[in-house]
Symmetry: C2
Subunit: 454 residues, 2 copies
């Protein structure tokens, strides 16, 4: 195949693979979406390599889909039109750490755990914390967030500057190293969350934070999921600076117990974390616990030592995985709506009712401090009836969210799975999004068929 030999000549033979296992690996992500193999997988080592590949792809009109860890949850990395899977995982260098500026300069293949391990040596950490050990490039591409967003914000809030190879193979730098800027149009924010449809990130400058003096985790059990959500909303309303405030329903807790060999009370649970100066957080924990008592909390564990705290968050992180393992042979479809805070209790109740109504294997877990929660729905992609019921739950929840001013996706992104809701959510502004995509990528080669692309 000419494509392969051309690419091997452009880069090196080792950077271009058509090995069946490698193609298979790049055909899927963590979701239920139908896998599709790329024609070839290319491993760039530099911005120059990416420019070469994009130049070639442009000349020959070949689709290019950026890839790194493959932990996307809506099919973002699946090359539905074949072409080149551009695997950025070998561009995994931490280029510079600047402790005095609270900044780090990285390549896109760096993973969050890799980054945090290195930052810890400087007393620093990177705040965005999705479940998977995602790459920072992928996290920027999907505007990832997760458990700590309630305190530190989403990925877009951390990206200070980007080096981007555009679809025409020109290279631009967006943003600056300043903490704030009113200069020019905000391209940084436009590229973050563009899911590889507007270009390929080859360098990122990210904001990092000083490790707190102390951290305290709290696991609190309630009789009903409604009590959990109300307690969470009350804590947020009181302005307590929680670092994490996470909900898991009884099914999730049971699955965690089995999966991690722990013994948490099987009931709706809030996992919370407080970080800061020791004196301040003790006061915050006290106040939060008293609020939760008022809302009907039945059991609480306050975790202060580092090892136990890590175990607790490890348990929370494997929640979806543990639930998936509880019903073998199923794939996962996760809903991801995010609603205004006051609508959250109603939204979660409506979700649990809807899951029951449609007889779906589903559980609820979420970042309730942001008004964002997931139902983890287990589905056999070959079971058409089950697929339809799961899709109906998803559609119902999205409708609920949009009707109260929310979004169809708080953090998983659009990819393939939320494309059908873009017109409903964005109305007339979808036309402008499409026009911007067309302006940058008139041949529609960068991750075609995703996000706002027909």
């Amino acid at each position: 195949m000419k494509l392969i030999s051309d690419l091997r000549e452009l880069l090196t033979p080792e950077q271009v693979s058509v090995n069946e296992t490698v193609l298979e690996h790049h055909s899927r992500d963590e979701s239920y979406h139908t896998p599709q193999k790329p024609d070839v997988v290319v491993f760039p080592h530099s911005t120059e390599d990416v420019v070469k590949v994009i130049t070639y792809a442009n000349q020959h009109e070949i689709p290019v889909v950026p890839y790194a860890i493959g932990s996307s949850l809506e099919g973002q990395v699946i090359p539905i039109h074949g072409g080149i899977s551009l695997d950025m995982s070998q561009m995994d260098k931490i280029l510079e750490i600047r402790p005095d500026d609270f900044l780090v300069h990285v390549q896109p293949g760096v993973t969050k755990d890799q980054l945090n391990a290195e930052l810890a040596r400087y007393g620093l950490f990177f705040s965005v914390d999705p479940g998977a050990n995602a790459s920072v490039g992928g996290m920027a591409a999907t505007n990832a967030s997760g458990t700590t967003t309630v305190r530190y914000g989403v990925m877009r809030d951390q990206v200070r500057a980007l080096k981007v190879v555009l679809p025409d193979a020109s290279v631009i730098t967006t943003g600056s190293l300043a903490a704030k800027s009113a200069s020019g149009l905000n391209l940084n924010g436009l590229f973050v969350g563009s899911e590889g449809t507007l270009g390929v990130f080859t360098e990122l400058w990210l904001k990092v934070y000083g490790l707190p003096e102390a951290a305290v985790a709290v696991r609190a059990t309630f009789s009903t999921i409604e009590q959990c959500v109300k307690a969470s909303t009350a804590i947020m309303g009181a302005g307590i600076p929680v670092t994490r405030i996470e909900l898991a329903d009884a099914l999730i807790v049971a699955a965690i117990n089995r999966y991690k060999g722990v013994d948490y009370p099987v009931a709706p649970t809030l996992f919370l974390e407080f970080q800061g100066a020791k004196k301040s957080i003790n006061y915050d924990v006290e106040l939060a616990v008293s609020i939760m008592q008022d809302e009907g909390m039945s059991h609480v564990e306050i975790v202060k030592d580092e090892a136990s705290r890590r175990r607790l968050w490890d348990s929370r992180h494997v929640a979806a995985l543990a639930f998936r393992a509880s019903v073998p042979g199923k794939e996962q479809m996760a809903t991801d709506i995010c609603v205004p805070l006051s609508k959250l209790p109603e939204a979660v109740l409506d979700a649990t009712k809807t899951i029951e109504e449609y007889h779906v294997h589903g559980a609820v877990v979420g970042h309730v401090g942001d008004g964002n929660y997931h139902t983890v729905l287990l589905v056999d992609p070959n079971d058409e009836d089950e697929m339809q019921r799961v899709a109906a739950v998803n559609a119902h929840l999205v409708q609920f969210s949009l009707q109260c001013g929310g979004t169809c996706t708080g953090e998983h992104g659009v990819g393939l799975g939320k494309k059908k809701y873009q017109a409903l959510e964005h109305g007339e502004s979808l036309r402008l999004m499409k026009a911007i995509k067309h302006l940058l990528d008139p041949k529609d080669l960068m991750n075609p068929g995703k996000l706002v692309d027909d």
Copy 2:
């Protein structure tokens, strides 16, 4: 004139003015930039009114420049090509306050003081705090920030959703009411900071915050400006959650003393504020004061009662005005660079040296927690030699900032004054900004000649 009679017919006669005083009022902002009168001033009362005006302007290819308070600092509201000054100040309704969602729905002509007065009744406040009592529409247009940005972020961080009339007179809504979203391209962030060049905002949903339990202000005096900046950087490095941390040099303090009839020690000064739970902030204040002592603080006043605290911040807010009043008959050119935190001490020293070298009336004031500071330079626009020297200081400071990865404008925006630095700061990405402007406004009618527009 047909333009006038047409507009009067489209809206009502009272909404269209060619009164000489009104035209004069809309010819200038708070800066040194040369005034230019519009042909007509139009006062819309609704989105529909704006659509009518934009449709007409589009048909007849007439420039439209949005206006509200006129407090811009880089000529953003000056209609340099004449046409329509679209005065949004009569669209000043607070449409809805949602305390449980920490959201407020407003028209663009609402001013920050008006908004905060109303929010206080709900125990809430709006965080962005520029010197002037700006309109929220104008603040969104320039991505305003100010004293509290170090804690709460810039205007872009507060804008949840926008209703925008585009240059083709179509109406879109960007964003959602959710605290976070990964849905579609980030148009919200693109419009914020677009300085009226991409459309007219007619409604905004803004994030607001609960009023803190307590607030403490601190005024700390040092022997040198270098000590001030080092103390500020050390406080930020220690991760103390200051709400404000502001620098004023001795000239500014002397001007404040005269202007406000106060008696602060005439020396480089830091103004700080701490907000939160009473117990937590006492601890924070203690720690900050001890850091400042280490850096050579010579005098400190800790202000806890509300009236004195307000007086202190009122003094800080009038700093530029007070300095301008100290040399009558001059206009103000403010530099506005923002550099990575570690470069700030060097940057401020370089600025004071440069002001001396060029024999300019200049003083230093700034939001040092963000790495953003202003030199307030007083100039007679008719004195060509002085204008050149002031321009040279501005250019020197911008060069310094860009060389260390900073920006030419942290918060005042580009308007007319920082256009000449856009190519240097943004390089190749300026081409993309211009392409986006052209995509939305092919006839170049929305605030022509500003931001990235030639």
